[in-house]
């Protein structure tokens, strides 16, 4: 990268994020084109879950508001998409924003209620939402519209004719979802870098101090819920397009809990962590199911084993990386960097400049999307940094 480009990237958050998004899209394009159809479907699943997890990351990781109701927000998005496609036959480019929009409206209602609640009260309120809402599909007067337990079937999206006759549907679905995920991450990254993210973190860390500094905490929290719900709604809409189905069985309470697990495992408050979380949600259960079906165990054990393995993996990841996968990678990156610098420092001649402009060998970033300053200080250890710690930094 030439110096002017680099400095331009540094100067503008927007340009930098746009460049990242473009890079990600290019990488995903290459990947989805190379992958077999089933892999494409898994990529699509990981992509729509990324949307939901990233939205929840903003609400819970940055805003400190816990939501056990995000599965229900996804259901709102999925049903909106199914109804809009079924009744009006809109194109996808209109269906998905409609799903996000309708869910954002639902988020505004929930947010208005939740803004005055904290901790367990908030968890309880959103839990009720998650339990109750999918049940609406089975509510007698609505079964005609929502299709009851059977759900609503969606016509699969047809790949544009320009792509050729034999273009696989799965790749098209993966493209739609990946685009959704990249756009979501791009928008959220910009949002959280700006005033919104700053005030959100401030109100999370000390509500009273934030209020004294002029932050209108309740309004901010409603806004965070709306943003987060819109992401979940988009995820739900994408899920409906991939599964070609919106049914209550897709949105059990466990989905909401899994989304929470994903943000914790990925790395609380970091957007790249959301990607890790979504990947774990998609791949660990598949892997566990394959493992148990090839294990040759008795019928009853084999069919219940995947859940147990899944739980075990979650526990192990949480123990090994207390600050999530992203946190763990960041620590690892920091350690490698310090080691490299230590070696350079021992070499004769003047002290080498801080190597952070090379961004380190693993290119993980030192701070979560949430904390820049204290992390930066912590990430630049003293000369003998390799002895100075294993990346455990003080937070807040």
């Amino acid at each position: 990268m030439t110096a002017p480009v680099r400095s331009a990237l540094r100067r503008s958050t927007l340009t930098r994020h746009a460049a990242c998004a473009a890079l990600a899209l290019a990488a995903l394009y290459a990947l989805t084109t190379a992958a077999a159809p089933y892999r494409d479907l898994q990529i699509a699943q990981a992509a729509y879950l990324t949307c939901a997890v990233a939205g929840l990351t903003v609400l819970t990781g940055l805003g400190g508001q816990i939501s056990l109701g995000h599965g229900a927000f996804m259901a709102v998005g999925a049903y909106t998409a199914a109804l809009v496609i079924g009744h009006w036959g809109w194109p996808l480019a209109a269906v998905l924003p409609a799903a996000a929009g309708a869910t954002a409206a639902a988020g505004a209602v929930v947010g208005a209620v939740a803004a005055r609640l904290h901790g367990p009260y908030l968890a309880g309120a959103t839990l009720a939402f998650a339990v109750g809402l999918p049940g609406l599909a089975n509510y007698e007067p609505l079964t005609g519209v929502l299709g009851g337990q059977n759900g609503l079937t969606i016509v699969p999206p047809v790949p544009p004719a320009a792509l050729g006759e034999a273009f696989p549907l799965e790749r098209w679905q993966a493209w739609i979802c990946c685009l959704g995920a990249v756009v979501t991450l791009f928008l959220l990254a910009n949002l959280t870098r700006g005033r919104f993210g700053r005030t959100l973190r401030a109100s999370r860390d000390d509500e009273i101090a934030a209020a004294l500094s002029g932050v209108r905490v309740a309004r901010l929290r409603i806004a965070a819920t709306v943003v987060s719900a819109a992401c979940a709604g988009l995820a739900g809409g994408l899920l409906a397009v991939v599964a070609t189905l919106a049914a209550p069985g897709a949105f059990p309470l466990t989905l909401s809990l899994q989304l929470i697990a994903a943000i914790v495992i990925g790395g609380l408050g970091s957007l790249p962590g959301a990607v890790w979380g979504a990947l774990i949600l998609v791949y660990v259960p598949t892997w566990a199911a394959d493992l148990s079906s090839s294990s040759g165990l008795s019928h009853d054990i084999a069919s219940n084993l995947p859940l147990a393995i899944y739980g075990l993996v979650l526990i192990v990841v949480t123990l090994a990386f207390p600050r999530g996968v992203q946190g763990g990678l960041r620590d690892l990156g920091g350690a490698v960097r310090r080691r490299a610098r230590g070696r350079r420092d021992r070499a004769p001649g003047p002290r080498a400049p801080a190597p952070s402009d090379t961004s380190g060998p693993t290119t993980t970033h030192p701070g979560g999307a949430d904390e820049a300053t204290p992390d930066e200080a912590g990430a630049r250890p003293d000369d003998r940094g390799d002895a100075g710690g294993r990346g455990e930094r003080l937070r807040r």
């Binding site: 990600a24 019928h299 820049a372």
Partner: protein
């Protein structure tokens, strides 16, 4: 504070790329260059979605194990045209959304030759379009929905068991004749399964005789309100189109309400051994001890296969032998007979598809077939019909068996008449493996 931003941005990119890369690794199981997916020189791989966990698992989770045992038996006896049948069945928890994803996996990643006996109406109806679009033979859906019999729309899909409309007609005719003038209540699963059954019932049971119609949603186990409503209607006969879990729940609820009507239960929800086990385990969870078997005595139901308790029947003897050899730990009940019977029909179909089976070939062979097997009535298979068994025989639960009453009856899924079928049930082949043909 510029640097962390750069790194963060790079990290985001890396994460996405790595994420993408992680999902990209792992090869796809290639078909090995043979004519049809899933067929090699030595194997034929087929797949299925089954409720191994979730609300429909009690009872039905034995079906696939029984089919597997029968295939193992056939494989041990030389397989079909020298090929062994590899049967992959995966759990969908009776949840339509999971059915979609596991079926996609079977078709796209495991590259199965056919989907065999995918279980459930609400579940399988979500993948039937997909399977037909992918031209995967969708054989012998484990559900009696009339919707599998649409050869124009779904040329790859075949039903197997008697469909719920036919079954509803036969049960409805029986109720009309045996309980003339009595008050009747319906308890049914509120999806295509129960609704089809009710459609058949309504063709025979007069409207003014039906005093209450209550439905349930699979997934919710609270059916107290429905039981209360039916008990209050003082019905003399309760006709149930329910899966075993809900038959048992309703029976316990009516016990609690001291409500003692005559129960008429559709075939899929009436296996005596499954019901006995469920009644006892549900009662135990509720903190009381009941003896399951007395609660189901005298229940009226219908059947189209060999009765598990009929030791004189050659099919029961054959299946019991295979059961003892391969899956002795599972109770020998109607689900085992079902799973082995449907596997028997599949082996017949695969034999009929010839030495080098193709997806197209097996579908055409089925349309031309005149299979006889463990059923008491004939199949309806033909170029213009993909429906399975065409009728059933009314029976009553006595002990742990369903004792047939009268002759098998056949009918269609429209307004056609119900007719007795007089040909005797064919004998099982001595070796247990259907003759090639």
């Amino acid at each position: 504070m510029k640097r962390p931003r750069t790194r963060r941005a790079l990290a985001l990119t890396t994460a996405v790329t790595l994420a993408a890369a992680a999902s990209g690794c792992g090869g796809d199981g290639g078909g090995g260059g043979s004519a049809a997916p899933g067929v090699t020189a030595t194997t034929v791989t087929i797949g299925s979605h089954q409720p191994l966990t979730g609300p429909a698992a009690p009872g039905y989770s034995a079906n696939s194990a029984a089919s597997k045992a029968f295939f193992d038996y056939v494989n041990a006896n030389g397989g079909v045209h020298g090929r062994k049948i590899v049967y992959r069945y995966v759990d969908d928890a009776y949840n339509p959304t999971q059915t979609v994803s596991v079926t996609q996996k079977l078709v796209l990643q495991d590259k199965v030759f056919a989907i065999f006996n995918g279980l459930g109406t609400p579940t399988h109806s979500k993948v039937v379009d997909y399977l037909n679009a992918q031209r995967v033979p969708d054989l012998f859906v484990a559900s009696g929905c009339g919707c599998w019999d649409r050869p124009d729309e779904h040329p790859q899909t075949f039903g197997w068991q008697v469909d719920y409309i036919r079954e509803g007609k036969i049960l409805g005719d029986h109720v009309k004749k045996a309980y003339a003038g009595k008050k009747v209540a319906y308890f049914f699963q509120n999806d295509d399964f129960g609704q089809d059954g009710v459609k058949g019932l309504d063709k025979y049971i007069p409207k003014d005789q039906v005093v209450s119609r209550q439905s349930y949603q699979p997934g919710s186990t609270d059916i107290g309100a429905q039981a209360q409503a039916i008990a209050q209607s003082k019905a003399d006969v309760v006709v149930m189109f329910s899966i075993p879990t809900y038959t048992a729940l309703f029976r316990l609820a009516s016990l609690k309400l001291n409500f003692q009507p005559t129960f008429v239960v559709s075939n899929v929800g009436s296996d005596p051994i499954t019901l006995t086990g469920l009644l006892e385990s549900f009662a135990k969870k509720g903190g009381s001890e009941v003896e399951g078997s007395p609660l189901i005595q005298g229940m009226v139901t219908d059947g189209y296969l060999a009765a598990p308790g009929d030791a004189a029947n050659s099919w029961t003897a054959l299946f019991k032998r295979i059961h003892g050899q391969y899956i002795p730990k599972l109770p020998f009940n109607g689900n085992i007979v079902y799973g082995m019977s449907v596997a028997y029909t599949f082996v017949q179909a695969l034999q009929a598809a010839g030495k080098n089976p193709t997806r197209k070939g097996i579908v055409e062979a089925l349309e031309k077939s005149r299979f006889t097997g463990p059923g008491v009535v004939p199949f309806a298979y033909g170029a213009d019909s993909h429906a399975g068994y065409t009728g059933a025989v009314i029976g009553t639960i006595k002990g742990q068996n369903v004792v047939p009453q009268g002759q098998p009856l056949t009918t269609d899924d429209g307004d056609g008449p119900i007719q007795p079928y007089t040909a005797p049930q064919p004998q099982a082949p001595a070796g247990g493996v259907p003759a090639a043909g």
